[in-house]
């Protein structure tokens, strides 16, 4: 029999419903696995007492025939979601000791549906990074290794803890957030599935803000079906977030079996970037071939403003971050470092509490918003955002139902390999994912194969606004054709 923590979320749901095992047993199996996997540093904090207590409630509900949609399913929560009474850090020293007196909307909906919390997952500080190397709580190590090598690799970021924990069977699924690629890039690096839904699909209430017009929550899980199940619980209107949309949540799980017959899939020529490895190009061609064999029409399209998305992002995101992170001033929560006066206290607190990448982005944001530069930088970037969105609208108006691209320009890299003096090197990881955030569209990353060194590679599908269902249908088609990518060996246990 498969170990309980190695089941898919859907299999675990069936096993619990048919009483093959209890919620307590599957929670304990995960807690044991987490304990053995300390070397990966995927969890900032595990919450075993809470997990077992929640599992007991689930077992009682199941016994009474009152099981809720996610009853007894153990999940990990990215440590950007406020969890009541549980240390919430955003991976930053500045939030040291912060225990929210409230629960984020997304996690509250998961608990409402019966899920069990295992703990809080590591991330890049304030979700700023593509490798999980900027966390004040240490780097997360990917459970994947190159064939015949024990070089530690990054799990991607910023949702690196979420992706690593899902891949290493330390939870059945996890919450994550995506501002420029932070769900899809780590999913691609770890052979897991991750969806960033349309902006407004999930409430941002109780999620620590990075760039408010780009941030969106979504799940990472081991299969397309598991992601569909989780998004169904995470999504929904919340009056406390004015950008949360008041639309019914579709039955995402039902959409996975729709297939792609009759759909038109666009292949944007601008994504064929210079220096892209042959492996990535072949994977992309293969993905298009799989969708064609399943009955889709493949059509080359043009999204001409693609090259400007990443530079525009590095104006918009830091600008919003500099404003959002102004609240960390040593007064209301977390760290306080004294100074000669109140301004000195602010400056010392923020100098000691923020890491290097966060300081860099706050300063860029401060600069582009400062007097005399606002129009040249911020307003121009927002105009370019309009142009990027128009490119997608034109493609969809021409009959394209979804767009297929690579998820990342390469497979996972080694810890420290990108620590060059130029921060832009790291930013290029998000070149294929960031356009989607700029336009507010939904995007899913699905594993599609392994590279020559045995590391997972992913494809991305981009959809029309609020049409996550087509993404689940097309991603399931790719998963069926590619076969599930699973971890070769638990070297850490």
């Amino acid at each position: 029999m498969t170990a309980l923590n190695e089941l898919t979320l859907a299999e675990a749901r069936d096993g619990l419903a048919s009483k093959q095992f209890s919620a307590r047993e599957i929670a304990q199996a995960h807690l044991d696995a987490i304990e053995k996997a300390r070397a990966l540093n995927a969890y900032i904090v595990a919450t075993p007492d809470r997990a077992l207590k929640m599992a007991e409630v689930s077992d009682a509900k199941i016994a009474k025939g009152e099981a809720r949609p996610l009853e007894g399913l153990p999940l990990g929560i990215k440590d950007l979601f406020a969890t009541q009474g549980v240390h919430t850090t955003a991976g930053s020293k500045i939030l040291e000791g912060f225990e929210p007196h409230y629960e984020s909307n997304v996690s509250a909906q998961l608990w409402r549906d019966g899920a069990v919390m295992l703990g809080k997952l590591n991330l890049d500080e304030f979700a700023m990074g593509s490798s999980n190397e900027t966390s004040a709580y240490g780097k997360t190590i990917s459970p994947w290794r190159r064939q015949g090598s024990d070089t530690p690799l990054v799990p991607g970021g910023s949702s690196g803890g979420s992706a690593a924990a899902v891949a290493a069977h330390l939870c059945l699924g996890a919450t994550a957030t995506d501002t420029g690629g932070s769900i899809r890039q780590p999913a691609a690096f770890t052979g897991t599935v991750g969806i960033k839904p349309t902006y407004g699909r999930c409430s941002r209430w109780g999620i620590i803000a990075y760039a408010s017009s780009l941030d969106q929550a979504g799940p990472i899980a081991r299969t397309v079906q598991d992601c569909a199940i989780l998004l169904g619980s995470m999504a929904g209107h919340d009056p406390r977030d004015t950008t949360s949309v008041d639309l019914p949540v579709p039955d995402f799980e039902a959409a996975i079996s729709r297939g792609v017959k009759g759909l038109t899939i666009g292949i944007p020529k601008e994504y064929r970037v210079e220096g892209m490895p042959d492996e990535i190009q072949r994977l992309w061609d293969q993905g298009a071939e799989w969708l064609k064999e399943a009955g889709a029409t493949i059509k080359e399209i043009s999204l001409p403003h693609t090259p400007y998305a990443l530079p525009a992002y590095y104006i918009v995101a830091p600008a919003e971050a500099s404003s959002n992170l102004a609240r960390y001033d040593g007064v209301r929560y977390g760290l306080r470092v004294p100074g000669k006066d109140i301004a000195g206290m602010y400056e010392n607190t923020r100098a000691a509490g923020f890491g290097r990448e966060v300081k860099r982005r706050i300063m860029i944001g401060t600069y582009v918003l400062s007097a005399g530069y606002y129009d040249a930088y911020y307003v121009r970037a927002q105009k370019i955002r309009t142009l990027i969105k128009r490119d997608f609208e034109a493609a969809y108006a021409s009959g394209v139902d979804a767009i297929l691209t690579p998820a990342t320009p390469s497979a996972a890299f080694g810890i420290g390999e990108m620590a060059s003096a130029d921060p832009v090197e790291m930013y290029l990881n998000d070149v294929f994912t960031v356009t989607v955030n700029m336009a507010g569209l939904p995007g899913i990353a699905v594993p599609a194969g392994l590279d020559a060194q045995g590391l997972p590679l992913g494809l991305q599908l981009i959809g029309r606004p609020f049409d996550e269902e087509t993404l689940f249908a097309a991603a399931q088609t790719i998963e069926n054709a590619a076969g599930r990518i699973s971890l070769p060996k638990a070297w850490w246990a």
Partner: protein, 95 residues
């Protein structure tokens, strides 16, 4: 556009982040690398283009003008480094 050391110090002060003399040089290099990267946006013709103000077009939602929350001073200050009688304590600001 690039920034000099003086500008780096000015931005740091505006952002309320203390920087040491040793940090200024490296920060200047990093900020200039990012500014050089975004320079290419100058090549885009944005004449007559409206800046994006909302990702998804939607009407601003309004709630009923009623008291729906409050009375939680204790929760609000619970995580503050220094408090007294449900007030935040800060260093003296006014003489």
């Amino acid at each position: 556009m690039s920034v000099d050391e003086k500008t780096v110090r000015r931005i740091a002060h505006l952002a309320r982040i203390a920087v040491t003399d040793e940090e200024v040089g490296p920060l200047q290099g990093e900020l200039n690398a990012i500014l050089a990267f975004v320079e290419q946006l100058g090549a885009v013709d944005v004449d007559g283009v409206e800046p994006m103000t909302s990702v998804m077009p939607m009407r601003m939602k309004k709630r009923a003008d009623v008291v729906n929350d409050g009375g939680r001073a204790r929760d609000v200050v619970a995580n503050a480094p220094e408090t007294e009688d449900n007030y935040f304590l800060v260093p003296k600001v006014v003489e």
